[in-house]
Amino acid sequence: MAEVPPPANVTAAETGDIFLVSTEPIEPGALQARVVDPTWGGLASFFGVVRSPNRGVIVHHIDYEGYQEMIVTQMRQVATALRAEADLGRILIAHRLGRLVPGDVSIAVVVASPHRSDALTACHRGIDLSKELLPVWKYEVGADGSNWVAGSSRASQPL
């Protein structure tokens, strides 16, 4: 598989937003602890989990490949888009790369806000945008063989 670059761990100075790309496990509790704050009453989170069976077929593992520098740039774009739509506290977006097995968390979007509806709406929009914009690819290995998982071209005009 592709060489995996060192982890990116970026905090935006102006907003306190946190963008993580790493081969290390994503620990939901630890990530949320970095976002929670008495200033904001609501914390909404989405975690994507490696599924098995997927479409009826047992999955052994998934190798996640990513364009790491661009993942962080696009995470920043996602956060900017979310802030344009609501009054938000801190935003954390994390994506794991490398080999993941079923049950592992692959992606996290955590949003704090003074208002619960804003936190939840932004979290929902944040995961939808992340699925469209983050340059990440899945090579799935399972009981039926292996394949690159079909992706989305919504980010821009393809060649």
Binding site: E69, I71, T73, V136, W148, A150, P158
Partner: protein, 78 residues
Amino acid sequence: MKVTALLFAQFRVAAGRNRIELELPPKATVRGVADRLETDLDVDLSGALCAVDERFSDPDAPLCGGETVAFLPPVSGG
């Protein structure tokens, strides 16, 4: 002018490499970089999303040299 091209996932596998330094004529576009890679490396980049310096880009965007131009299969993260 010089650009750095990056290939990922299926494109990386097909080309056998993920990074190529290219010398291109002035006023080359993103699509021009793709054409050159398809010729030099015998890869098919149709359907690729294009990125210039970590931002998604229209295939017909002009380059001025020094950029990093990436060709990305449709993305499947999360």
